[in-house]
């Protein structure tokens, strides 16, 4: 049973290596290989929910050596939620990419890199010590930077270079912080390194600044968001969907939450700093997005503001706030992947991403148009879609905690989101066509299926949000709420 955790790391690596070989044998083989292996992973992530009692912890020691000395993989509520999201969204996106990537030449390399990225994300959420977390984070970062540069045009390489440099500096900040935590506590295990003594306040502040800058850059939180509006639109659409949908959350938000709550320990100044960062992201995203004409760039800017909601909710450090933040993480993964996929479909059919040159696509592309409408309404927080509930919880939690200004920012940010997504709908789907649309056809079946699936998930996650909360979100909230007592609950000792 515990071996299943190792499979989440080994299977994608094997698929990454095999798809390079398989591509030279038969052209469709890499598709089949990666989609089937990620299907197995997504199903086993779901199976783990069904087979185990809610909130239980699964532990796997590599080579049988227990925690402080050996390397271990830990599956608790928070990492389980991330695992389900990563593998589920990746599966749907890879089905989409089977048709979409036909236009690119090196399909085997694409699949290899995507599987490496999935390995990095799975490993980062499962790893039980800081150095494994860092190494998997690096793996995912480098693989995603290669995917950003996949088109090898001038814009894409520039975006990739910017992403690599800023991401590299962030990684080094994280590494320095890890080195300092190791120096102070003498341990790298997430479960043991939580005894930073109060006698070194200066070192603790320094570690916190490094961690917030490092993981903040990975998560694209406001003052560190500069790379995201370049990097995410440059990648092929399925990769953009994965970057905005799961990568920034797995590498940034998850890792930040995990270390701040379970290793450093939450306190009022940290909570305040996170809330300010979150609110700043909401404001920055709301200012950046309405000015964009490129469809994917606008969605990437919207990601900055939505990440702000998640960080604001998690930073509130009340049970309601954390629940709202994690629920928003869950919903935003689905909606933003859907939106990037619809943008990819529009680009696939028309070859155009500029909203000013589009229009009148509703009749030609009914499935894409309606999925995009669902995504736009869902991301803006219109009931009955999932994001409505998560934003509502975040606003209520802000009011309960007495932070009325943050509640006001959250509400206004949501209205601005609705305005610029309404503009996207008007310009690209409802308006009279700006050019000739007679040659535009609906996209192939595989792409329609994955978009409609995600659109249905948006709707279902809103209608059955109580089930999502009790089965998926609550175990994660419990893990976070344990805080520094985390080590005892995992039974590592």
């Amino acid at each position: 049973m515990n071996l299943i955790l190792l499979m989440f790391i080994l299977l994608p690596v094997a698929a990454a290596i095999l798809s390079l070989i398989a591509g030279s044998v038969y052209k469709k083989l890499p598709d089949i290989l990666s989609i089937s292996s990620i299907a197995v992973l997504a199903l086993s992530a779901a199976y783990l929910y069904l087979s185990r009692p809610v909130g239980s912890v699964l532990l796997f020691n590599l080579g049988g050596v227990p925690s402080p000395i050996g390397i271990n993989l830990v599956l608790d509520g928070l990492s389980h939620m991330m695992l389900l999201l990563i593998n589920g969204i990746s599966f749907i996106v890879l089905v989409y990419s089977a048709s979409y990537m036909e236009r690119y030449t090196a399909k085997d390399k694409f699949h290899s890199l995507v599987m490496l990225m999935i390995t990095g994300m799975n490993g980062a959420v499962l790893s039980g010590d800081l150095i494994s977390l860092f190494l998997f984070l690096e793996l995912a970062s480098v693989a995603s930077a290669a995917l950003v540069a996949f088109g090898t045009e001038a814009d894409e390489t520039e975006a990739s270079f910017k992403y690599l440099i800023l991401g590299g500096v962030a990684s080094m900040f994280i590494l320095l912080a890890i080195a300092m935590i190791f120096g102070i506590t003498g341990s790298l295990s997430l479960a043991v390194a939580n005894n930073i003594p109060a006698s070194v306040p200066l070192a603790k502040i320094f570690i916190l600044i490094l961690l917030m800058a490092g993981f903040g850059t990975k998560a694209a939180v406001a003052p560190f968001h500069a790379w995201l509006p370049d990097a995410h639109p440059s990648a092929p659409a399925p990769v953009s969907a994965m970057l905005s949908g799961v990568l920034v959350k797995a590498l940034g938000v998850y890792a930040l939450t995990r270390i701040l709550y379970n290793v450093i320990g939450m306190s009022y100044p940290i909570s305040m700093a996170l809330m300010v960062l979150g609110a700043l992201s909401i404001i920055t995203g709301s200012f950046l997005a309405p000015g964009q004409w490129d469809m994917k760039r606008m969605m990437a800017c919207s990601t900055v503001s939505q990440i702000g909601y998640i960080v604001l909710g998690v930073g509130l450090a009340t049970p309601m706030g954390v629940m709202g933040g994690l629920l928003h993480l869950f919903n935003h993964s689905i909606t933003k992947s859907l939106l990037f996929l619809t943008a990819g479909s529009v680009e696939y059919a028309t070859g155009e991403r500029d909203m000013r040159k589009l229009g009148g696509l509703r009749d030609a592309m009914p499935f894409t148009a309606n999925s995009s409408l669902v995504g736009s309404l869902a991301v803006s927080g219109v009931p009955p879609f999932g994001s409505f509930w998560s934003k509502l919880f975040i606003v209520i939690a802000c009011v309960q905690a007495g932070q009325l200004w943050f509640a006001a920012i959250a509400v206004i940010g949501s209205i601005i989101t609705l305005s610029y997504f309404a503009r996207l709908q008007k310009l690209s789907f409802f308006n009279k066509p700006a050019g000739d649309v007679s040659g535009v056809r609906e996209v192939p079946l595989a792409m329609i299926v994955s978009m409609v699936t995600l659109a249905l998930l948006c709707l279902l996650s809103g209608m059955f949000f109580t089930h999502v909360i009790t089965d998926v979100i609550n175990p994660a909230v419990v893990t976070i709420a344990r805080g520094l007592m985390y080590s005892r609950s995992t039974g590592v000792f």
Binding site: I69, I131, L139, A146, T157, S160, F161, I165, F182, G183
Partner: protein
């Protein structure tokens, strides 16, 4: 104490090179310097007597190997940029300015 300060200064030199220098290769070198200084810091902390919980040589070699991967990726992208623009100067490459 001096050796800790020196490794932190090394980190800051790397940070300076990444953030201030305009040359793409110098930026990459700055990043490598930052990485090595962090590794030196880990080794220094581990050399104290009270820290024996982990195998530090494996950790550092793993970090260095992952760093080589990142550096190779950066160098490849830099070469591609040079082929497109004929320069390593970030001031002359449109979207990297500022």
């Amino acid at each position: 104490m001096t050796e800790y300060l020196i490794s932190v200064m090394l980190f800051l030199i790397g940070l300076y090179a990444v953030s201030v220098k305009k040359h793409l290769i110098k930026k990459i070198m700055g990043l490598v310097i930052m990485e090595y200084s962090a590794c030196v810091l880990i080794a220094l902390f581990a050399s104290r007597n009270d820290v024996v919980q982990v195998n530090v040589q494996y950790i550092i070699s793993a970090v260095l190997v992952s760093g080589i991967g990142g550096t190779l990726m950066l160098a490849a992208v830099a070469v591609r940029l040079y082929q497109r623009h004929g320069t390593f100067d970030t001031g002359k490459i449109r979207s990297l300015r500022g």
